[in-house]
Symmetry: C2
Amino acid sequence: MKTSFGPKTLLYPTPVLAVGTYDANGKPNVMTASWGGICCSQPPCMNISLRKATYSYQNIVDRKAFTLSLPSEEQVRQADFFGLASGRDTDKFAASGLTAVRSDLVDAPYVAEFPLILECKLVHTAELGLHTQFVGEVLDVKIDASVLDPEGNVDIRKLKPILFATGSKEYYGVGKFLAKAFSVGKES
Amino acid sequence: MKTSFGPKTLLYPTPVLAVGTYDANGKPNVMTASWGGICCSQPPCMNISLRKATYSYQNIVDRKAFTLSLPSEEQVRQADFFGLASGRDTDKFAASGLTAVRSDLVDAPYVAEFPLILECKLVHTAELGLHTQFVGEVLDVKIDASVLDPEGNVDIRKLKPILFATGSKEYYGVGKFLAKAFSVGKES
């Protein structure tokens, strides 16, 4: 039996993405967002939605670029901090002790200590309401050797990405392996 | 030390979303997609990207509506099947034994047995390349009583949503609780 909850943003899971940008003075900023993901395979594109009130919003409009840095489980405290403080009055890199590295492909910085980085060039903007959706074409993905398997592919057990649970506003880790995709359904 | 992987769709986690639509003859269809998520809080909006080659693509263009049904771990086989078969030559509801229910708010069906449903009215379309991104305003969320906690909120431990790992193409469950969001970062 299903109950109506009305129009709500309940979807599981959402990712935890640290959005890296430069402000008008070239100061690096980073904010955490979970309204985002993959939106195109060719060219590879990522979407991220920000409120206009955020400091990062104008940075993306001006610089036409952003990065997404994915934190690992042990970085959950810093990732949450990046969503609480504002770049208007805080140097979040200095405050967290993490390192801003300038992307050599797009006009934006990323978080050196986070294990997976997507460098994105702004290609599409949609005004949806409280949030503006930015779509960025991925020009490069940079990954720490420490989260790769022996074949050189990402091992999700080593990456340990964080999931954000909407509604309860909680962070979770990745759990048990369930099945191979494009495979288990063939038994249907 | 980071290695460049070039432009790729590597982001963790992505959700597993069964997209429900009606075709030109009113036959219900459902396909699984992971390029999607939340993109606006007010009005609540979800985005989902589909290739033009999919049967569901034209259905959304014509009907200006879709639903997202979130499967639970024990439904991983059906969810994967929905991504393997095509509505062009298969009645995926009949083949899977699952039930198509007509939304009373939008012109699209949802999967009765899946625990969380989002009913979406198309409000924005973006041609991004291989994928077209559809943004739908959420008119209602319907949730099974069985996945709610005693206070009537979604319990992610009962919902057991599926995560899709890009790259390795694997499904995982939700793992351990890490921290409260908008909270643990205050200790920074």
